[in-house]
Symmetry: C2
DNA sequence: GCCAATGATATCCTAAAATATATCAAATCG
DNA sequence: CGATTTGATATATTTTAGGATATCATTGGC
């Protein structure tokens, strides 16, 4: 997958976990099956924008466009938690 | 359409025009038929993320996620009206 | 006036996302 | 331990974006 997309979905996943929502809980909130959320978080699909916007909002994020040439000044929600070293396989 | 999406596509359209690209030219650049770009700019479809990312990049924009609760500090290419006096110059 | 460029639309077709369900293994907990 | 929760995965069906093309009205030059 495009990596840019993975980045977006990873950010949403991190936000979901931060807010202590399970995939099912988030799914309920947004009206989407848990299975779909799993696929999205694992970058197994190329979601529609409306889908990403809905998920983002459910975890208090907003999809925006910023200048690309300009330095990554105030980027996004990036760096979920600082450095964090190696390891940690989820699940 | 979702309005949030319209906002994103409008932003891209504005950027396209700013860079003096016709829909056909942008289409060539991204490898997508002019007709599709028209549909997207007119919010007649709900594009896939990869599509929006490609278009955005072609006009030097990047799709990002920002906190929604937080004030719209340094938003995007947005700025309906420039800097506007009020404190906080984005910097 | 003529012609090229531009954007909107339409059709047909294919690919892929989304929905609905259902499992299932691995954690988590009481 | 057994029960529940969680996330990954699978299959079948529906829906829709995207690709390829073509047309057409409008606009802008020349």
């Amino acid at each position: 997958m495009s990596s840019a997309i993975e980045h977006l979905t990873k950010t949403i996943k991190a936000a979901r976990q931060r807010s202590h929502l399970s995939q099912r809980a988030l799914g309920r909130k947004v009206g989407m099956p848990q299975a779909q959320i799993s696929k999205i978080e694992n970058a197994a699909v190329d979601p529609k924008i409306s889908t990403l916007v809905a998920l983002a909002r459910a975890v208090d994020l907003e999809l925006t466009l910023v200048p690309r040439t300009d330095s990554p000044r105030f980027n996004a929600v990036d760096s979920p938690h600082p450095p964090e070293k190696e390891g940690l396989s989820p699940r």
